[in-house]
């Protein structure tokens, strides 16, 4: 399984990246961490004319704390997130989730921008963004815009970022002390893609966001579930049961490990476990 041939570019600025992407003849694809793209190239399922390695673009590095938000450069690797005190302090949900993302060697190279840009339905970070109601800074030849996470993930490997655009930052609101977070995922083996998983964020006003992953064609918020749970400081067994019934709003999709019915069942189990474990 050797990758097909391609040209390789390693630009050092965002504008250079964009010029390359704008050139249709080059048939560019972005190379960030390579942990998802390289397998696809080795399978010959991806065959770009030009690989644009963005690891040398310093504007895409770094985790910055702002007044109300944390700004994470697209090239920030999972391991950096794991080791960051800013993230530990201000984005505890990310910390809950990271140990479940693949394995250390993958996290040493894979990037947040790569994960968000790929929108794998079974990946954790898109669901984290949905639960935190984060946004994605997209830069193109026309300028910079902010895409809310809630409308960013459109389907399997499909996002609101166009082929000639570059995800430059992930922006997350800083956690408040009265916020509570929940997370649970079930996978056949440690580090595997989830059979079903859920990220939950409850704000101080008791509004709640519930984002599932691994069960549909993208990470998805269960808005009916959210309506039922919002306003409650704690969750009784009856309320949890109602919430589980409401997950049928999701169009569950089966995969190698589970049929749609099994996905729904396990989604309900992770929902209950996440709700009970919120902190």
């Amino acid at each position: 399984m050797k990758a097909p041939d391609f040209s390789y570019e390693k630009p050092t600025s965002i504008s250079d990246v964009l010029s390359l992407l704008a050139n249709d003849e080059l048939d560019c694809q972005l190379l960030a961490g390579g942990q998802s793209l390289m397998p696809m190239m080795n399978f010959r399922m991806a065959n770009p004319g030009t690989l644009v390695d963005i690891s040398g673009v310093s504007e895409l590095a770094g985790i910055t704390e702002c007044t109300d938000t944390i700004k994470i450069g697209a090239m920030v690797r999972y391991c950096e997130l794991e080791q960051s005190t800013i993230i530990k302090t201000h984005c505890p949900l990310i910390n809950l989730v990271l140990p479940y993302v693949a394995h250390a060697a993958i996290r040493n190279r894979g990037t947040i921008g790569g994960s968000i840009g790929l929108s794998d339905p079974a990946a954790e970070l898109p669901a984290v963004l949905l639960a935190l109601d984060g946004s994605i800074e997209v830069t193109s030849g026309d300028g910079v815009r902010l895409e809310p996470a809630s409308s960013f993930f459109k389907g399997v490997y499909e996002t609101a970022c166009e082929p000639d655009e570059l995800i430059t930052k992930i922006i997350l609101p800083k956690a408040h002390s009265q916020q509570k977070f929940g997370f649970h995922e079930v996978a056949r083996r440690h580090g595997d893609y989830a059979m079903a998983g859920v990220c939950i964020a409850q704000d101080s006003d008791l509004s709640i966001r519930v984002a599932f992953f691994g069960v549909a064609d993208k990470a998805i918020r269960a808005t009916n579930v959210e309506k039922l749970l919002s306003g409650s400081a704690s969750f009784s067994q009856d309320l949890i049961k109602d919430a589980q019934n409401a997950t049928s709003e999701i169009e569950f999709e089966g995969d190698m490990n589970a049929s749609p019915e099994a996905k729904q069942h396990i989604a309900n189990v992770v929902l209950e476990r996440a709700l009970k474990g919120m902190k």
Binding site: K2, A3, D5, R188, H190, A262, H265
Partner: protein, 793 residues
């Protein structure tokens, strides 16, 4: 001089000790010599184009564009290759009725499984070769694919081979007593189940690889081989390429795991040899992981309708089953795809005493990857059929699963004896192993733990298996049926001028420690430090003629030959020493590299000094003394068709009834493999085997759609056991030496895999018993558990 039986009169330095393997030192420093590590001058790469369809006519192949591509030396189609090879047929005469058509290395007119090679590019690099594959134009005409074992036997099913009247490859019926009559009696409680076993495969971490080279002038073909049976391959290459066997050399160095996968004949490897001969240069073929999934042999695809009859007192009246197994479109050559089913027919219920048995095996062609022997061949299924039905019967009559075994296991003093199916047993210890198992697992404590957890809605289960395992096979296994598979092995030991021992053996190493135990035996029996023993295995040019490693025969057969040869050389050395020292040979011994006085231990002459006299200063010896400081002995099992081992194992599991997940809390294995040569190596073999059995029981399955497309042919989708989910495995032994050899060692490599699935299914069913449901399909995936529980569907 006393015979070899005296070897064990005194304590040994090495045999029976957990000595670290010499081979491991260089492997830990990245100094392995695996086939893909080798680069030879002018070496090129064979890259295969494979059928994307399970069943299709090949109407035309246009290679003109591919031939012109960068780096391409040559392109061959199946028809091209067929001109240079005798096709092979995977049948053996001792499996009467088994049929299989002639098979070529690459498909010729019809592709019959997804992954069958149809063309091959020879190129300067693998990457360029893959580029060139995309330029080959093939016109396929899809044919209906036969993918359901039971449907394949219906009269409406498309035929895979038009020359046959059906898709049945082989059928065999085994009967003892009269099961139907016995089961009709009133006092018999009958339990019937359909048990399904999922097709799965070996997933050796090193994929199949070969480098073939042809030397013009010598007319010599050399195959660098990552496999278990070099002499068998030598025969096969010579026969099918119409070469003199002595002009074919097969060399195996390090092999990255095999487990039976790499003991079979693969068309892409044979084609590589043919191409090397045509091009007169080294050709390398390394399967990548995707190729591996759809070409490495698959195994264990069975649907079994089973029944067991017991009386109220727990005694077994009889067992019976109808087994349907789906193989590939051909029976694998030369070991056949019928052996696994044959084992199941022969071995189900083997640990137990009962009178009535009626089993039918149906081996059915499929348009799926070929199937053949894989670690513990048939045993996982045989042991699961008998022991899972037995524990279900125990539940039906309200008897403890240990008690029902006590009632029926062959008594330890009953040997030699025969099973109802005619299998001959000796030196087994079913009860002693069960005793030991119950002790090490603390069965009573587990029962108490189970009861306490049930009160809290946590479902834990304990499951057992009592098993036999075929090891140390005689010629009755293959040779008798016409297979070019040696069931005897040889060892040569040679004393060199420096006093070191060079030994060679026809059994082979794939990581289990074959070289290590040969080294231990030679050192101990001959009388030198282990560090002074150098081992050569795997090269048909230099080792004795033999069978290689399979069916757990390395220690028992290879080890015995090494013991006999080492002892013979010792006698020869002492004969020379006696002359040099003016003593009698039986006054002397060899210890730690020195010839010594047997009674006092006084050192008389070092082996190196003795050897130097023999090799350099023969003038100091009497003219009529022609010393041989080299000895070769061969050994085969004659008393029995196989030397059986036995064991008792148990699994402790917890079933999460919300998610369907099964957590294995602990696993115990008590194995009687006769004399244990290196406890650490054996115990870890058993652990590795258990984990491989866990794979088949919980995780591994080759999933096919109705078009014969394998759906999960990647490491992400085909689930192999990884560390987090694996339990600690406690291993213990009973040692009942086999009387068939001096060494007394039986085989140990496969028992873990043979027993674990049964113990696990029993543990799961034991956990689920209060919930009135059970699992009768492997792998026992979370979805299947949830369905059994009625939580979905």
């Amino acid at each position: 001089m006393s015979g070899p039986a005296t070897i064990f009169d005194k304590p040994r330095d090495y045999i029976g000790k957990s000595i670290p393997r010499s081979d491991a030192a260089r492997l830990l420093r990245g100094q392995g010599r695996y086939v893909d590590d080798m680069q030879l001058p002018r070496m090129v790469h064979a890259v295969f184009l494979r059928s994307p369809y399970a069943h299709a006519k090949i109407n035309s192949i246009d290679v003109s564009e591919a031939t012109q591509a960068a780096g391409v030396i040559a392109v061959y189609t199946g028809k091209d290759i067929a001109k240079h090879v005798e096709p092979y047929i995977g049948v053996l005469s001792h499996l009467p009725g088994l049929r299989s058509p002639a098979q070529y290395p690459l498909a010729v007119d019809v592709a019959r499984w997804q992954g069958e090679p149809v063309a091959v590019v020879v190129c300067t690099s693998r990457a360029l070769g893959e580029d060139a594959l995309e330029l080959i134009n093939i016109s396929y005409e899809q044919l209906p694919a036969v993918t359901d074992t039971l449907d394949a036997l219906s009269s409406e099913s498309p035929l895979i081979h038009n020359e046959y009247d059906s898709n049945l490859a082989w059928k065999r019926e085994v009967e003892a007593g009269n099961l139907e009559e016995a089961f009709a009696k009133e006092d018999v409680i009958i339990v019937e189940k359909q048990i399904k076993f999922g097709r799965h495969t070996g997933v050796t971490l090193e994929t199949r690889a070969t480098i073939c080279d042809y030397i013009p002038g010598d007319d010599e073909l050399i195959m660098y081989y990552a496999g278990q049976a070099p002499h068998m391959l030598q025969f096969i290459l010579a026969k099918h390429m119409n070469m003199l066997e002595e002009n074919v050399r097969v060399v195996a160095h390090d092999v990255g795991g095999s487990f039976g996968i790499k003991v079979h004949t693969y068309g892409d490897e044979i084609a590589t040899a043919i191409i090397a001969k045509l091009l007169r240069r080294p050709v390398k073929f390394t399967a990548d992981r995707l190729e591996s999934f759809v070409t490495d042999i698959h195994a264990r695809d069975h649907v079994v309708d089973a029944k067991i009859g017991v009386r109220k007192d727990g005694s077994i009246v009889g067992m019976g089953f109808n087994d349907f197994t789906g193989i590939g479109p051909f029976s694998m050559y030369p070991r056949t795809s019928a052996i696994e089913c044959n084992q199941i027919l022969n071995l189900t219920g083997a640990p137990y005493q009962f009178e009535h048995y009626h089993a039918v095996g149906n081996v059915v062609f499929q348009n799926k990857t070929l199937m053949c022997q894989y670690r513990a061949v048939g045993h996982p299924i045989a042991m699961a059929i008998s022991d899972c039905m037995l524990e279900e019967a125990a539940r039906a009559i309200g008897m403890d699963p240990v008690q029902i075994r006590r009632k029926n296991l062959i008594p330890d003093d009953a040997y030699p004896t025969k099973s109802a199916t005619g299998m001959r047993f000796d030196d087994l210890s079913h009860h002693a192993c069960l005793d030991k198992l119950l002790t090490i697992m603390d069965y009573d404590a587990l029962l108490a733990d189970q009861a306490e957890n049930r009160d809290n809605g946590i479902y834990r289960g304990i499951g057992f298996v009592s098993l036999v395992e075929v090891t140390n096979p005689s010629p009755m296994f293959y040779g008798i049926g016409g297979a070019p598979i040696a069931s005897q092995d040889g060892a040569t030991v040679r004393l060199d001028a420096a006093g070191a021992l060079h030994v060679s053996s026809s059994v082979t190493e794939q990581g289990q420690g074959t070289n290590a135990i040969l080294q231990q035996i030679a050192a101990d029996v001959f009388g030198v430090a282990m560090a002074r023993v150098k081992v050569t295995t795997g090269d048909t040019a230099t080792v004795p003629y033999g069978g290689g490693t399979w069916a757990s025969r390395g220690a028992g057969i290879g080890g015995e030959a090494m013991l006999l040869a080492s002892h013979a050389l010792k006698e020869q050395v002492l004969d020379v020493a006696a002359v040099i020292l003016q003593a009698k040979p039986d006054e002397l011994d060899i210890a730690y590299g020195e010839v010594v006085m047997k009674d006092t231990g006084e050192q008389k002459i070092s082996l190196g000094d003795l050897a130097k006299i023999v090799y350099y200063r023969g003038n100091e010896l009497p003219d009529d003394l022609q010393p041989e400081l080299i000895a070769t002995r061969h050994y085969r099992v004659t008393d029995f068709p196989f030397v059986f081992t036995n064991g008792a194992m148990a699994a402790h599991v917890e079933v999460d009834t919300n998610t369907g997940f099964i957590k294995i809390l602990h696993f115990w294995a008590v194995e009687d493999c006769g004399r244990v040569i290196n406890p650490q190596l054996v115990d870890d073999q058993i652990r590795g085997g258990v984990v491989q059995g866990i794979g088949g029981a919980l995780y591994e399955e080759c999933v096919y759609d109705t078009d014969g497309q394998m759906q999960n042919a990647t490491m992400a989708d085909y689930l192999v056991p990884m560390a987090s989910e694996m339990p600690e495995i406690t291993v213990a032994h009973v040692e009942t030496y086999t009387k068939t050899s001096v060494l007394g060692a039986k085989g140990a490599g496969e028992a873990g895999t043979g027993g674990a699935p049964a113990a696990l299914m029993n543990a799961v069913n034991n956990a689920l018993a209060p919930l009135d449901c059970g699992m009768w399909q492997m792998p026992m995936t979370p979805e299947r558990v949830l369905r059994a529980l009625g939580k979905i569907g």
